[in-house]
Amino acid sequence: MTEEEFDAFYDASFARVTSQLHAMIGDRDEAQECVQEAFIRAWSRRKQLADLTHPEAWIRTTAYRLAVSRWRRMRLARRPPDRALHEVAPSAGPDENRVALIAALRQLPDSQRRALVLHHLCDLPVQQVAEETGVPVGTVKARLHRGRAALTALLDADAGPTQGAAHV
């Protein structure tokens, strides 16, 4: 992957993967940091990256793993802001539906939340979700089914207990 190809890939994918990770982990700032770190790692391994069919999936998976690690969270809590970061957009004001959606997603088990985001936001077919998460297709289907039910219940003001949010 040449510098030009990487720059184009970075420009095209950064915002999209950050959105996806934000939905998965519920924290925009942490999502930005993790996606940033994933791109740095990608360039440090650009020979392998060039061989990948879906480099964006590699970025997403790497960023997700960084995010779920406690080590990452601890470091983020302590570390001062990176002076090399450039502000690319003012922080958007809170949107009611988006805030509610993120709040509901955060209440789901990790596995359901990740499956929902990969399938509905990343637009991956079930087979690819299974490959990216390392579980059978049937498990993905079950997670999607339960996750959708739980999400709907959580966002419905009149909904009862969220019995659908069981760990699959």
Binding site: D7, R41, Q48, R98, D156
Partner: protein
């Protein structure tokens, strides 16, 4: 409320900050350069392993010999602060050192046993970037009981965090201590065994010594082979393990449930008569190196031996047949350690089976199989030497780079295995030079096993 799935499908976050692409590439290039030179770090580690082993062997205590002199460790209760020269950043060049705790967020399924500690003193070191990510914190607590208790609480939290718990993030496993690490280790495989080139396994090593508790976190690419990660990170911490012994006697956490790396013993009903190991003088002929800071321990059934030593990720001693008894003695000095261990079995057939399993395990690991992935790791090289005796095997474990290695001779006689291990400043190429000393030591203790044969010798 709108349709949540439709909202999810159109969910978009506008990133507020990001690096320029050129800066991402610059950092990536720096990362790759660091990775390419990272292997040299292993050199210092191997030597440190040797230097630390005397203290390491004190882990299990001693129920037969006199307790070690009080001068071997400071009085814990008077320790008000961590010594200024405590090597918290040993082997971590460029690490940030601070007097704050850095492991308070350690979390197993929502339990954070280090979250509310009130230590008398604390010291941390952190190094991150690319394939090297490590955090270490040493806590100085009010007394040894507090340190042991906190260590146990961390272990208990990890053991309760099993697959199926909705709050778990990865596959958690607890690994008991061994000759190189008298504490305990906890691994969490976030990739759940899937192959991954990225650091996806966290290994947390804990060591309580006197009132001090050392907690470290290391990330590496050990998914599916966490045993290598445990082995590598323990080797990295050898200098710290030795320094911890200066703060007090190590405390080994209890076991709540069976650890796959812990060798169980046969039922008590089998530990009678011939099942026992007689009171052999395994320390016979040891050279006194106490003037140089060395220490002799044992004979004792409680010392840490090779039971949990891993060879290419496999326990050196098989789970079956179960041993019926053990006895150990050790002698350490500057950059030298000798361990003698007798492992008893119910009968000669069981001992033969155990020896065959051990031989197969060691043979399968040679001529060379390095550990995988991870932060500043120390790969190991195993070699088998001919012994000229079908009931005996000689093998070596050395660092792939640099100095530091161990020679083992394991012999079967009657219903027992005899292990003689010597560690020193050897390399893969030079360790064969230690064979004559190993044989001399073996010759001292081997006749003692005649007591464990039916006919005698």
């Amino acid at each position: 409320m709108s349709d949540p799935i439709r909202d999810l499908e159109s969910f978009a976050t506008t990133p507020t900050v990001r690096l320029d692409a050129a800066e991402v590439r610059r950092r990536g290039d720096a990362r790759r350069r660091r990775r390419n030179v990272g292997g040299t770090v292993a050199v210092a580690v191997a030597v440190a392993v040797i230097a630390s082993t005397g203290a390491v062997l004190a882990a299990g205590g001693d129920d037969r010999s006199d307790p070690p002199p009080a001068t071997t460790s400071p009085t814990p209760s008077v320790l008000e602060q961590i010594p200024a020269d405590f090597p918290i950043a040993a082997g971590l060049e460029g690490a940030e050192v601070s007097r704050t705790a850095a492991m308070e967020g350690l979390d197993y399924c929502g339990t954070t046993p280090l979250g509310d500690l009130a230590p008398r003193d604390v010291r941390s070191a952190a190094l991150s970037g690319g394939e090297t990510s490590e955090i270490r914190t040493v806590y100085l607590l009010p007394d040894p009981e507090s340190a042991a208790k906190v260590q146990q609480e961390v272990v208990d939290a990890a053991r309760r965090c099993t697959d199926g718990d909705p709050r778990d993030s990865g596959t958690v496993a607890v690994h008991d201590g061994d000759a190189a690490w008298p504490g305990v280790s906890i691994s969490e495989d976030f990739a759940r065994g899937a192959a991954s080139a990225e650091p996806s396994v966290e290994v947390v090593n804990l060591l309580a010594a006197g009132p001090a508790l050392l907690v470290t976190s290391s990330y590496g690419s050990w998914s599916g082979d966490v045993a290598s990660g445990v082995l590598d990170t323990r080797a990295q911490l050898a200098t710290l393990a030795a320094a911890m012994s200066g703060l007090g006697t190590p405390s080994t956490p209890g076991t709540e449930q069976e650890d796959p790396l812990l060798l169980p013993e046969a039922p008590e009903s089998e530990k009678v008569g011939q099942g026992t190991v007689p009171d052999l003088d395994l320390a016979q002929g040891f050279v006194d190196m106490s003037a140089d800071g060395g220490e002799q321990l044992g004979p004792s059934a409680q010392l840490t031996g090779i039971d949990r030593t891993l060879v290419c990720g496999q326990p050196l001693l098989a789970q079956q047949p179960l041993p019926t008894g053990r006895l150990l003695a050790s002698n350490s000095g500057p950059e030298f350690l000798e361990l003698r261990q007798v492992i008893g079995y119910r009968d000669a057939d069981a001992a033969k089976q155990a020896f065959t399993e051990l031989f197969d395990t060691v043979s399968a690991c040679t001529p060379k199989k390095a550990g995988r992935g991870g932060a500043v790791m120390a790969s190991r090289v195993w070699q088998v030497f001919g012994s000229g005796d079908p009931d005996s095997v000689v093998f070596a474990d050395t660092a792939a780079e640099g100095l530091g290695g161990s020679l083992y001779r394991v012999s079967r006689k009657g219903r027992a295995l005899l292990v003689v291990m010597q560690s020193g400043e050897w390399s893969t190429d030079t360790i064969g030079g230690g064979l004559s000393d190993l044989d001399r030591s073996n010759a001292v203790v081997a006749p003692m096993l005649c007591a464990m044969t039916e006919q005698g010798c």
